[in-house]
Subunit: 514 residues, 2 copies
């Protein structure tokens, strides 16, 4: 096979973590801000998040959930409810203590000692307690239920070790919070939300996920059930990519969400919460990136098609631009994935070849170059990002459809690419899940020092609890492994627990994780 000169400075196989940083830098997705643990999301990275947000928001609205907006600040006392139940409570959160800056003695600015808050405020790490307070005001009768709310917001958790998109002190997310009359209604909502995340991840982000319930030790504190979607990154690690919690009446009790039921007696509401964040952009990178940069699934690409006119600062440029504008309008007039095609005519100054590689690294699904010769021949030069190289000569794999057929060709490619990226990722995951594991020693062998990217194992277990579970967790921890979830569509157990030797009750996924 011929040698290919890839567009990125680092290869996945050489150093996956460095490759991840290289994609973020070279696809111009985000950068460090200089403010501890906070990143700047640049247009292409933020544009991907905006697309995800818009598609998810449509699903949230279609489910009858109403968006609201709650304060960014939470009084410190709200956390005391929680602290009462937590040994050695210590939380990494941003704490606001003053409301004014003044010039100090040396002319430097300082927080004004006269403007110290009586009660410090915490920048929300999540809005559970403040939304709980609102729900307690809003819910009086069963007629007020279900109460289905969602918020798109920034949240802050003071992280010591950060990694762009995956773990940052400030991140963006949506948090759904709902209250229901009955356990059944709340469970139905919990499962609806996780199914919504699955559909968004698979159909729009082209990321195959495993839907399942978390084991006891991985539950959100206070939750009765925690569900997750788990995606496998190209290094075999899991990314938990969305969670949905059934909270029983625990949070309703803490916040006082009570209602008069149909028989006239007072009841605690059953609540749920579910969230999905900018972390998913990291998931898109680690699922679809390759050694040439990012590949953005068409459904979430800010621009699905980029047209690059090969301008030469000559009078002929005008005709070339007119040719490209007509092409852009023809493509923009088509629909794909139920929306008009998003096409950019990139007129920025710069050499067309340099711009081509910029868009390759960014992962625009289709790149169309138009030069004088293309125009003469009434064609375009088209590159499909997921089929970038001609394997016979090691050069970019241009095709040259005629001008008039280009728009239809683009639509067909985008549709196909959305599916192809998903299938590629799903097949890779399936090759990397080991399902015929019957002894713990097999796990030890798979994850021994030096074994590369073994992916996940699915094992049968007896769902131990308490100390028996803790012992299992320790054994896994020694191999840097954690339980991911119990896949909802796994076949029933029919053997012995790999950990306890007792009869198994279900199958569970084990892997390393971000």
């Amino acid at each position: 096979m011929v040698q290919i000169r890839h567009a990125l400075s680092v290869k996945r196989a050489d150093n996956f973590a460095e490759w991840y940083q290289a994609v973020i830098a070279e696809a111009d997705l985000a950068e460090e801000s200089g403010v501890r643990g906070c990143m700047v999301m640049k247009p292409w990275g933020y544009g991907i998040w905006e697309r995800i947000q818009r598609l998810m928001d449509a699903r949230i609205k279609a489910a009858g959930v109403d968006n609201c907006y709650f304060p960014i600040f939470i009084p410190l006392s709200n956390f005391e409810r929680e602290a009462e139940h937590v040994e050695g409570f210590a939380k990494e959160m941003a704490v606001v203590t003053h409301h004014r800056l003044i010039a100090g003695e040396d002319g430097k600015l300082v927080p004004d000692p006269e403007a110290k808050l009586e009660e410090p405020l915490v920048v929300r790490p999540t809005s559970e307690t403040i939304i709980g307070d609102a729900m307690a005001r809003w819910v009086q009768s069963w007629r007020d239920l279900p109460l289905l709310t969602n918020q798109w917001a920034n949240v802050v958790r003071w992280e010591m070790r950060t990694r762009m998109f995956l773990r940052t002190s400030e991140f963006l997310w949506q948090e759904g919070h709902t209250a229901h009359e009955t356990r059944e209604d709340a469970l139905t909502e919990t499962h609806r939300a996780i199914e919504m995340y699955r559909a968004c991840a698979e159909d729009e982000l082209a990321i195959p996920v495993i839907v399942g319930e978390k084991p006891e030790n991985e539950r959100f504190p206070g939750a009765v059930e925690t569900w997750s979607i788990e995606a496998m990154m190209q290094d075999g690690k899991a990314l938990q990519a969305g969670t949905s919690h059934y909270l029983g009446t625990n949070f309703a009790e803490a916040s006082g969400i009570r209602f008069q039921d149909r028989e006239g007696s007072q009841q605690l509401a059953h609540t749920t919460s579910w969230g999905f964040s900018t972390r998913m952009v990291g998931g898109v990178i680690m699922t679809h990136g390759d050694d040439d940069g990012l590949r953005v699934p068409p459904a979430i690409a800010p621009h699905q098609v980029v047209i690059l006119p090969m301008l030469r600062d000559k009078p002929e440029d005008a005709a070339l631009l007119a040719y490209c504008e007509e092409l852009r309008d023809a493509i923009a007039g088509k629909d794909v994935l139920r929306e008009p095609v998003r096409v950019l005519l990139d007129r920025k100054p710069g050499k067309a070849a340099a711009k081509r590689w910029d868009w390759v690294r960014k992962g625009a699904p289709v790149i169309i170059e138009v030069g004088g010769r293309d125009m003469e021949n009434d064609v375009v030069s088209l590159l499909r990002r997921d089929d970038l190289w001609n394997m016979e000569n090691g050069k970019p794999n241009f095709s040259t459809p005629s001008r008039t057929e280009t728009a239809d060709r683009v639509v067909a490619i985008l549709q196909d690419m959305q599916t192809a990226l998903f299938v590629e990722a799903r097949d890779r995951r399936e090759r990397n899940v080991t399902r015929d594991v019957n002894e713990f020693s097999q796990i030890e062998a798979l994850y021994a020092e030096g074994a590369s990217a073994p992916g996940w194992v699915e094992v049968q277990w007896s769902r131990p609890t308490g100390e028996e579970l803790e012992a299992v967790i320790e054994r896994l921890k020694a191999l840097k492994l954690t339980f991911r979830n119990v896949p909802v569509d796994a076949p029933p157990a029919d053997g012995k627990c790999i950990f306890t030797g007792k009869p198994a009750v279900e199958r569970i996924i084990v892997g390393r994780a971000y």
Copy 2:
């Protein structure tokens, strides 16, 4: 004329400020959160903001401006640049000083003294400085210009006296920040942005505005030109509803935004900034509200049509619901204002009449009630929010179109209402701008104690500066008046300055303001 029993507890004419709070409460738009100066935006209020945001965002994208996201925290030292130039600098801002909470000696939570930040962080009151830092990194050559960025974000300004939507400690907004090669390019962008605000306010919010430049004393600190759109509320006061600033090279110098120009020498970029916030929801209330609550212009109504089936907990309900669902689908299949009609079938439990008045107070543009008799007669009972009362009998002004013509009728009403609300507000404003004022004593008479809602005056002036201007400002201040702006489309000056007696150079609007 017959007596009408209005749906709201307070009338505009009786107490405009109380009426404003009543609309917010009774239309369920927002509420106090219990966190100082921060409000909770409830579904209908936040839904209106979401619609405004979506329409404005489309305009921003169409102008080639890229959305980004910058950190919520700004290092204190960033404000020191600014403080150097400001006598007695003191700013009301939320200051983060610690990054951890721990349990104190009495079990209460306290900021951990061990986790004190070396440099305090400020919760952004605006992102000028942090975006300036990024621009300095991103701009090297003229090829990098124009750099057109925008951010949708929450910002915090510690306000002492707050009023929902109009002045809150935390609010939501968009802030555009752009950098350009030349003064001309930056001025063109400044004017483009204010024209975008005008178009959004007038075409989508149905709020007539006056576009103009602010006089010197009302400029944003550091700006060379500040433009605003000014809207007149129903009490005659002005609401500044969007501003756009040409910042010259002042901010580029402070942040170091330099580029190599086409001739190879280093230049400072010319920058602009422009913003538009949740304050506009307050403007919608005070422009379109009436004594029955809010009236939401169709373009920004979360639901444009609400269908209320008159359910009676009887077997016949099923047929009634089927009739309503068919109606909903027929209406949702139509387009209005270039989008599918947004229609809600409200199945919530509750008496239909009570629900009708809830939707009247919220200001849904069209309310359709369907009872058993309507179904028998193959009609619906339709209420148009901006034509609510039958003036002959003082009852709700229902019309009863046939089922099959309802969808088309709804489209026609929504289209008409979008224009009608605008025309009503524009005519009211025009009645309340006094243009034939030649002596300052006329202004004193107009705004004397007891003169009710005199609106604005447009006067000719000589554009004094320095102490001469300050004296004018003091005279106006005694009447609680301020300069609003110099309307871009006012006729040229042809007389004397009402303040100085010198030849006038332009016309300027004077009024009371929020």
